[in-house]
């Protein structure tokens, strides 16, 4: 096959590209330029968008011996990922921009362009496994549970999966690093990237305050307990996440002296509700905008993962107008806007965006 290898400049995508070559594919490396102004994105080895990263990717392509180009997708990225991220926060939700990037950029804009240019597939360094099953290509968790990235791929459709390659899914990360060193890829020792690539200093709340400006849903309000009594003040709900405990600076101590957590954020009134941890327990989720990896299910029992590095929760799923997920193991700190990725064993069934949650009766 003719394969586009998306190379971030990191170790994973470099080894993935090398493996695609070894598997006999005709591979061309590309690096995505996602920032109009590279300096405004994460610097050093942490992000995926700096000049240094582009150079690292180029050197890796040299070593592997494949052609290499930089594709400028900064406009699409800004419109589809950065602005969406801001819009979601402005509406009081908590989106995951990495899923959005996979859905709209890596496996959409890049894939479309690759197919248009005569390529057959896009290879990335994600830790996930593709298998051919009865109903087509199945997406599974990687063998390295600690590195598994099937969650952020849970937005891919069958058509996207059929044109994807994840050459690292069968290998634990330490072996990938060792393999990079053996292949002479200098990126072998580069630290993993974390956090959001377009927030340069990792301060999401500060970034949102600056970028949203007068689009902020509010610039302050009351922190109340479940009885409605005011227990503190804040300078804008944009700094808060459901389940957050630290940094609340509550003026009034809890009657029982136990720690309190953010239970609810009401962006329009700017009200933040706090309470004990057990009241965070979510037992049901309503999801919207489902994306199925294969045929849409009507009902299933399986598991659901609710954040990128979160655990699995056993669940019952019913698909109708919305995706109703009944959690058999409660989940804590779940916010609208996050993605719920549904699994059947190791297989990703699909995903939905969390619209609302139901709490255990208090």
């Amino acid at each position: 096959m003719r394969v586009i290898a998306a190379m971030s400049g990191g170790v994973d995508s470099a080894v993935a590209a090398a493996r695609a070559v070894e598997a006999g594919h005709d591979v061309t490396g590309i690096h995505l330029a996602l920032a109009r102004n590279p300096a405004s994105y994460r610097s050093g080895a942490r992000g995926c968008c700096t000049i240094e990263d582009a150079n690292d990717a180029r050197r890796a392509a040299d070593v592997i011996g494949i052609p290499f180009y930089v594709w400028d997708l900064s406009e699409r990225f800004h419109e589809d990922v950065v602005e969406d991220f801001m819009d979601e926060y402005a509406a009081g939700r908590t989106p995951n921009p990495c899923l959005r990037c996979n859905e709209r950029i890596k496996f959409a804009a890049v894939l479309d362009r690759a197919l248009g240019l005569g390529f057959d597939a896009v290879a990335t360094g994600h830790y996930a496994v593709l298998r051919t099953g009865a109903e087509g290509v199945e997406l599974h968790r990687s063998v390295d549970a600690a590195k598994d990235q099937s969650y952020v791929l849970g937005v891919l459709t069958q058509d996207q999966l059929r044109h994807s390659l994840f050459p690292l899914g069968d290998t634990p990360k330490p072996l990938v690093r060792a393999e990079a060193a053996r292949r002479g890829l200098l990126v072998a020792d580069k630290p993993d990237s974390h956090d959001i690539c377009f927030v340069a200093d990792g301060d999401n709340a500060g970034w949102l305050r600056e970028k949203l400006g007068n689009r902020l849903p509010n610039t302050g309000g009351a922190i109340v307990d479940e009885s409605g009594a005011v227990v503190g003040e804040h300078e804008g709900t944009v700094g808060f996440t459901i389940g957050q405990r630290r940094g609340l600076r509550l003026g009034v101590p809890a009657a029982d002296g136990r720690p309190r957590f953010v239970l609810d954020i009401e962006p329009v009134s700017g009200t933040v509700t706090v309470g004990p941890r057990e009241h965070l327990a979510v037992t049901g989720i309503s999801g919207i905008k489902p994306r199925w990896c294969g045929a849409a299910p009507t009902a299933l029992e399986g598991t659901v993962q609710l954040r990128a590095h979160g655990g699995e929760h056993r669940c019952r799923v019913t698909v109708g107008e919305t995706v109703e997920i009944e959690l058999l193991d409660p989940a804590y700190g779940i916010a609208p806007g996050q993605a719920a990725v549904i699994y059947d064993g190791t297989r990703v069934v699909g995903s939905a965006t969390i619209a609302s949650t139901r709490r255990a009766a208090a």
Partner: protein, 393 residues
């Protein structure tokens, strides 16, 4: 998987062109020799002689005096030396001279030093408009000069544009500048060997040229600069090159550079006729294969080796990649050293939209170009454009 062996069709001579055998011979003859050209002993004198003969060669073919040739590490350094060195010198003589007049289509080796002068030295940099072909609007220069001639430190206008190949009206610039006694610098790295360039006859005060664009080595170039024009040094040290450019003289590179310049200038007319005909064949062929492609730049005031097109509905990046996969090498002309391709400032200055700028490619011919190269492009361009259009994200 290795791609099948295919012939490389090199259509990027404006980026760099292969060294000519005479330059390789002249350079390699010096590589095994010893002698610092500043040393007083026999080896030093031998090295010095090579340098001075090279200087005389360049001076004689380019119409300047040997003492007006200042060797540098290349075009970028020569441009920096001309702009900063002349600006500082002229301002030192009269603190009111703080304006620099240039154009919006200059190479980054001119634009970036100007930007630096503006932001750190308080220079008033005015980038004058160009017409749709990329030629300086001379009336704008006249107006800028007339507004306050005594405040102008320097005018810098390139001889020929590196992206679209447009020749600038240097004679008119020199004439206007002469009326007000303002010195003129010109970046002629693309012009030497391609069109007639004579320093004295042109009447410019400083001229940039570089080795690797004329069949010489990388890493060497020169600023031709009139003795009467003060130039403040950028590099301080041993006082070489009239104390304008310190640093141990690179004898082998200079020998190769001089051989290349001599050959290029002597063969300029033959080269222009041969390569110009190839260029016309290329333009006809591409326009026939892609009827809605548009030739960018001037139809007649143009470098003989330059063909630049905008392909509507295409990403230049995609097209470049598809051609590269067929062994055909060209350029988008955009500054992508920063990793992120930016639409060409030259095309934007010429009034093109960002979309047009992104859909553009430059094909540049040189001394090794053949009809077969041109025909390979003509054969490939139609299908590649079709493909690139289909792939537009």
């Amino acid at each position: 998987m290795s791609r099948p062996e295919q012939r490389t069709v090199y259509l990027d001579h404006a980026a760099t062109t292969p060294m000519v055998p005479a330059a390789v011979a002249a350079m390699t003859a010096q590589l095994g020799e010893v002698g610092n050209a500043s040393s007083l002993h026999a080896s030093g004198r031998r090295a010095r002689r090579v340098v001075e003969e090279s200087r005389e060669t360049i001076a004689s073919v380019l119409g300047c005096r040997p003492g007006e040739v200042v060797f540098t590490s290349g075009g970028t350094e020569a441009d920096n030396l001309a702009l900063k060195g002349v600006y500082w010198s002229r301002r030192a003589a009269d603190p009111g001279r703080v304006r620099v007049l240039s154009t919006g289509v200059e190479h980054h080796a001119v634009l970036d030093p100007l930007h630096w002068l503006a932001t750190t030295e308080g220079a008033g940099v005015e980038l004058l408009p160009v017409d749709r072909d990329g030629r300086l609007v001379v009336d704008a220069l006249r107006a800028a000069l007339e507004r306050d001639p005594s405040s102008v430190a320097l005018i810098s206008v390139m001889w020929a544009n590196n992206e679209v190949g447009t020749l600038q009206p240097i004679a008119e610039v020199v004439e206007l500048a002469g009326e007000y006694g303002v010195p003129v610098h010109t970046d002629a790295v693309q012009a030497v060997g391609a069109v007639p360039v004579d320093f004295a006859a042109a009447g410019v005060d400083a001229l940039t040229l570089t080795g690797h664009k004329v069949g010489g080595p990388y890493g060497v170039g020169a600023l031709l600069v009139r003795r009467e024009l003060g130039v403040t040094a950028l590099l301080h040290g041993g006082g070489q090159e009239r104390d304008i450019r310190s640093g141990t003289i690179d004898v082998p590179a200079i020998a190769g550079f001089a051989a290349a310049v001599e050959l290029a200038v002597k063969e300029q007319a033959t080269y222009a006729a041969r390569v110009g005909a190839l260029r016309d064949r290329l333009i006809r062929g591409v326009l026939a294969a892609v009827p809605d492609a548009e030739l960018t730049g001037s139809p007649d005031q143009r470098l003989p080796g330059n063909a630049h097109f905008s392909f509507p509905g295409c990403e230049g990046d995609s097209l470049l990649m598809l051609l590269d996969a067929r062994g055909i090498e060209c350029s988008t002309g955009s500054a992508c050293s920063a990793g992120v391709p930016q639409p060409s400032h030259v095309l934007l200055a010429m009034g093109r939209s960002e979309a047009e700028a992104r859909g553009s490619l430059r094909f540049s011919l040189g001394h090794t170009s053949t009809e077969a190269d041109v025909d390979a492009l003509i054969e490939a361009i139609g299908p590649c454009v079709e493909r690139a259009r289909a792939a537009r994200a």
